[in-house]
Amino acid sequence: MAKVFIYPATSLMLSDLVARYGHKPLGSALSVREHIQAGGFDSPPLQITPEDPKKGLHWAAVEVPSGVRGRMSLYGPLVEEADAAIIIEESDFAFGCMGCARTNELLIFLLKQKGVPVLELSYPKTKEEGVTFVASIRTFLAELGGEKA
């Protein structure tokens, strides 16, 4: 079972397909859950405190806006954990955790720079593309090993 970073990290479809074919999707929900379930100072809604943008300095310099650094504190550890990544670049309608284009650019860069297998796709817009989409993901995941077809 490989840990596969999904981009958009909030994607229902990618999360589903990765898990369906026997791997572990790494997405925002995991980091958000970690924050929600950890004690500390109360900072609703996400329990991201001003300390998190500071942790984000590990991935982005101090002159980078706080929202980018705060988001990187969610994603950075997942990127480091990832064995592979599936990227749908045209994620124009992924909000919240994926709501900042600058963070998203940095995230894709870090994933590619890491040198792990990366599958890049577009969202399917027709039934035919749906078949290609699923087949591409299944093939990619199978090559990572451990597919339970």
């Binding site: 479809m13 898990a19 929600i36 004690g39 890049e120």
Partner: protein, 152 residues
């Protein structure tokens, strides 16, 4: 700053979406209650949310997926169900993630079709069907120059 004492520590929550001509969110909820054995199930407009230990959630999710495998989609959720930090009733409007799901659910029929069509495919057929993501390369500068010359 106030201290924060988290609830549901050690649990997982998963969203189970259904977008199907034959299975309704209510069908899914009924099936979930049948196998719940005390695990928290919450009905929503799109399906259910299941909250419990990772093992409990896995057991229920695997059962539910079998009901309509090509039309059920599952993902992790960071918050427990009904959390007031995320609840529409407290925010005046939907949390941002809702619109993202709305977008992807709009594409689910294509993916459902893909799941069905590829279900029985052998690995070599899958490989043939898979197409790597391709973008048209930008026009070569010399080619552009020759077009300009031709047009001139």
């Amino acid at each position: 700053m106030k201290e924060y004492n988290p609830e549901y520590v050690g649990t997982e929550t998963k969203y189970i979406f259904v977008d199907s001509p034959t299975t309704t969110p209510q069908d899914l909820a009924i099936a979930a209650y049948e196998v719940a054995m005390g695990v928290m199930i919450k009905e929503t407009c799109f399906g259910v949310q299941v909250t419990g230990t990772p093992d409990e959630v896995r057991r229920i999710v695997e059962r539910l997926r079998k009901i309509d495998p090509f039309h059920i989609f599952i993902k992790d959720r960071g918050f427990p169900p009904g959390d007031e930090r995320r609840c529409r009733a407290n925010l005046g409007g939907s949390r941002p993630g809702y619109l993202g799901h709305e977008y992807e659910i709009g594409l689910s029929r294509f993916i459902s079709h893909g799941l069905k069509e590829t279900d029985t495919m052998k690995p070599e057929d899958l490989k043939k069907t898979a197409q790597p993501f391709k973008r048209e390369p930008p026009l070569d500068i010399e080619e552009l120059a020759s077009i300009i010359e031709e047009e001139a």
